[in-house]
Subunit: 198 residues, 2 copies
């Protein structure tokens, strides 16, 4: 029998994704032996994060202020919106550091299997933005998966009639990837998307 | 650039063992989307655990009260002490549910390589217990490793002259184990420790 407060900490830790009973025990034992201040700071950081973060009412990205810093930044190109599935995807593109437009977080992908339909995703707010922000291009940056492709087709059909250019990020071999180990779909897309060498 | 409160939560999570940057991001994103109450309860459970847990002044096990419930339990055999490396080991034996004596947590094993000497471990307090609790048997339940064996030899030499019986837990094949996959040392110990079939 574990002391109740230890058992309680372990129970709460096992609720986290990828943390099983053994991992939770190991984390709890580690924290038990850590300086009190470290445990308090971790706890406070988690509560503060949950408290402070919200969704940007414009692009649905996570933010501490609404609208988010990217939507408020006048130096960014308002005519181009990069559409992604999740906030993590926008963060990944932002870290790459080349994109100067704005984002729109769909909140997932259309997926008949998972029961995700158009009304579950942030299409209506994108529709409004296209009209109110005089958007000229939508870059579809959903993941290259069956659902991602289906969502791209849906969006193309829905938004192209609004007079906006619809593009899809390139699908092909990743930097450092090898033809030998690439799957057939990727090779097919890489060939299809070939460009003239300058 | 991540919102500061998210970045701070991730930084604190990466300080935990086995949690890298990617895992920390995933945990933080999960918590961000969890009900506020769940995050607050997790944070409170961690702080409460660190606050409440201490070492038993008698056996060095982790406990909320000193002495620990096992040391205070009069129905347990005071004449037998099971010596283990860490509190987790005592918990494992306790969960197995057969041992009715008491424990002594060494806090590790003698290890010249890691610089752990006798003065780093809880030998002196064990020495005192042997005298004050009229202990008759010490069961050495350190892990079957080079350091564990060396510690067993050291303890045997140190405590046998006190007139106490010194035993070592059996080393052999685990339940469900196969001879085919057992290592040579284990097979050697299993043969050496053979017993007459009743």
């Amino acid at each position: 029998m574990l002391p109740p407060s230890l058992e309680s900490a372990i129970t709460h830790l096992t609720k986290l994704p990828t943390i099983g009973r053994r991992s939770a025990e190991r984390l709890a034992f580690y924290l038990m032996r850590s300086p009190k201040q470290q445990v308090e700071e971790l706890a406070a950081a988690l509560v503060r994060m949950r408290e402070n973060l919200r969704r940007c009412s414009r692009c649905h990205n996570i933010t501490e202020e609404d609208p988010c810093p990217i939507c408020r930044d006048d130096r960014r190109d308002t005519k181009v919106i990069c559409v992604v599935e999740e906030a993590l995807d926008a963060i990944a593109i932002e870290s790459a550091g080349h994109f100067r437009g704005r984002y729109h977080i769909l909140g997932g992908c259309l997926s008949p299997l998972k029961g995700v339909t158009a009304s579950d995703l942030n299409f209506d707010s994108l529709h409004k933005r296209i009209e109110s922000e005089s958007v000229e291009e939508l870059i579809l940056a959903m993941n290259p998966s069956v659902d991602g492709e289906a969502t791209a087709v849906y969006m193309s059909q829905r938004f192209r009639p609004r007079g906006v250019r619809i593009t899809r990020i390139a699908l092909g071999l990743p930097m450092g990837g090898t033809l030998e180990h690439a799957d057939g779909q990727t090779l097919h897309r890489a060939l299809e998307g070939r460009r003239d060498v300058e």
